[in-house]
Symmetry: C2
Subunit: 339 residues, 2 copies
């Protein structure tokens, strides 16, 4: 191991003692030096004896991941990436599904009587940011998705307004005018859905169209069955959409299913665009156009935030608002209108 | 709480002291009595103070769930059910993805230096049952899926041979004769795939057909992309299948995708049947026929096995081999041949 420390020290241009201080989480290293050493550690793939380090520091080596639902393909893919990346840092991930149950979110923070996790990554549904980031808990928290203007904790997300605006603009550019939005959850504090609706409306107004309430279809949850129910409701109400922007791919796939059942051609009669970039969409018939968040970067940046808070608690950096990239993958479900 | 104990005692026909002994995991209660009390506890939804009980017994209240991949819809749905059912028992689930990495499976058993979990549910890919159930670890293990004739640990699974035989017989009954099997993994110790191949061949032979090696298409992993690659390989090799039995729904959906791309009608030109009963299949175009394991029962029975081993370690019941029910959901992807 000492030769490895030497390699890291040489690359970072510091003494092995400084490397050792960084690895042991000592607060005596200047932030700039620490960052340089960390970069060298990362580059050389150095894996310190984390168990020993945790023991000394009173840590468990566990980080919590609280997601609303594990059986959603989006959260499944994201959790998979987070577990994978956490392993590189010798962390074990404790995953919990919250189902919008505040008690579940609290339990992950508290463990059974004692503190269970060293840090928590949470996609909140139930607890507000105030409770999640209560400083008396002393557990660093990273929020996924939700914007929280108070800046109470680090946050990692795509620009949902911009992404939704681009998806809707893509449909407008292909000649669609009656674009339905499926995915609002008025019964929940779902900030993500609110932002996607905002982007959708912005694009419509940018094209000189006034948003039509009859085309904005709410849902209960974000799965295929909800997309199917929303599409059925739109068609039965005579809303005559020529396109659908669904706030998740699962909703989009449910809408696509109903379009087929009703004998509509996709994309000729109805263009469909989803959000999340789940693998399923590539194999839909036709393949689904979707907004793809960079999930690998969401996982990596969230873990980096946690590591910084856990191992450099002395640093008083203000909560970060990290925006990760997204792209629009255009596939056959939203081809140009030929009719 | 005492009135609750009294209710349980009355229902089970024992003293409150006996209920208390069962709840505290004392070994002094006869197995038959313990089972009766447990049934009463379950029926009345009694939730004991597990934190205190764990503390006294040197337990962590954590159980491990080791699955190959979290982003597979089947394992996502199963993990979701297990996490949900574990909460009813006041257990927190630590999920790890093994990706066929033996180190990951060992780590879950061992924690970081100390024992992390009170018990482990594992769908093994990497470690053999001998290592998983090494008694020196003293952690009860429940195996999902893999048959292990030595009877080293409790095991919960569907009858894969029978289920595959039924799925293939269904295709034969609809007039198919060149039924491809997609899903063998010759590079892995995947016992489940081997059993499904056995059932497939058994059905063919039962119909007087000799299995054709050209129709048995191996795969690398069990996802849509592998199903698509396998279907492409079958068609390009001129195997002329009139049906596909895929060992997972994801493989089936990948095969379905290629059939569409090649202009084949489903089910007219090609019938497709999958395995797993994932939600995605219901919304495929056409909806996918599939073997549906009773996942809720897999989750419940696996947790019950763990609870029995953890709270009644003195009981010397031999390892159980629990077979949970399955059914074949026939949908449009395998309709009767009309041509």
């Amino acid at each position: 191991m000492s030769s490895r420390l030497k390699d890291v020290a040489a690359l970072a241009g510091v003494s092995t003692r400084t490397v050792s201080n960084v690895v042991s989480g000592s607060a005596s290293v200047a932030e700039e030096t620490r960052a340089r050493v960390q970069a060298a550690l990362d580059e050389l793939g150095y894996r310190p004896n984390v168990a020993a380090r945790n023991l000394r520091a009173g840590r468990t080596g566990l980080i919590g991941l609280a997601i609303p639902e594990l059986y959603s393909p989006y959260f499944g893919e994201l959790a998979s990436l987070i577990v994978h990346a956490a392993r590189d840092r010798s962390w074990t991930v404790v995953i919990d599904q919250t189902f919008g149950d505040p008690e579940a979110e609290r339990r992950l923070l508290d463990g059974d009587g004692g503190r269970l996790v060293d840090g928590l990554i949470i996609s909140p549904w139930a607890l507000g940011p105030e409770e999640l980031t209560d400083r008396s808990r002393d557990v660093p928290v990273v929020l996924l998705g939700e914007r929280q203007p108070q800046g109470l904790a680090d946050r990692v997300a795509v620009d949902n307004v911009l992404a939704a605006e681009e998806a809707t603009a893509h449909l407008l550019a292909s000649g669609r005018r009656r674009i339905a939005a499926i995915g609002l959850q008025p019964h929940l504090r779902n900030e993500t859905a609110r932002q996607r609706l905002e982007g959708y409306r912005k694009a419509l107004r940018g094209a000189g169209l006034e948003p039509d309430a009859a085309l904005e279809q709410p849902v209960t949850t974000l799965h295929r069955k909800d997309g199917a129910a929303a599409m059925t409701a739109l068609l039965d109400a005579g809303a005559r959409p020529d396109a659908v922007f669904a706030f998740t791919d699962e909703l989009a796939l449910g809408a696509l299913h109903i379009a087929h059942e009703r004998g509509m051609s996709v994309p000729e009669d109805l263009a469909v665009v989803g959000f999340d970039g789940i693998e399923d969409g590539q194999y839909a018939n036709p393949p689904l156009t979707t907004v793809v968040p960079d999930k690998r970067q969401i996982a990596e940046r969230a873990l980096q935030c946690l590591a910084d808070r856990i191992y450099s608690p002395a640093s008083t950096v203000a909560p970060l608002d990290i925006v990760v990239p997204h792209r629009l993958d255009v596939r056959a479900s939203s081809g140009r209108r030929t009719g």
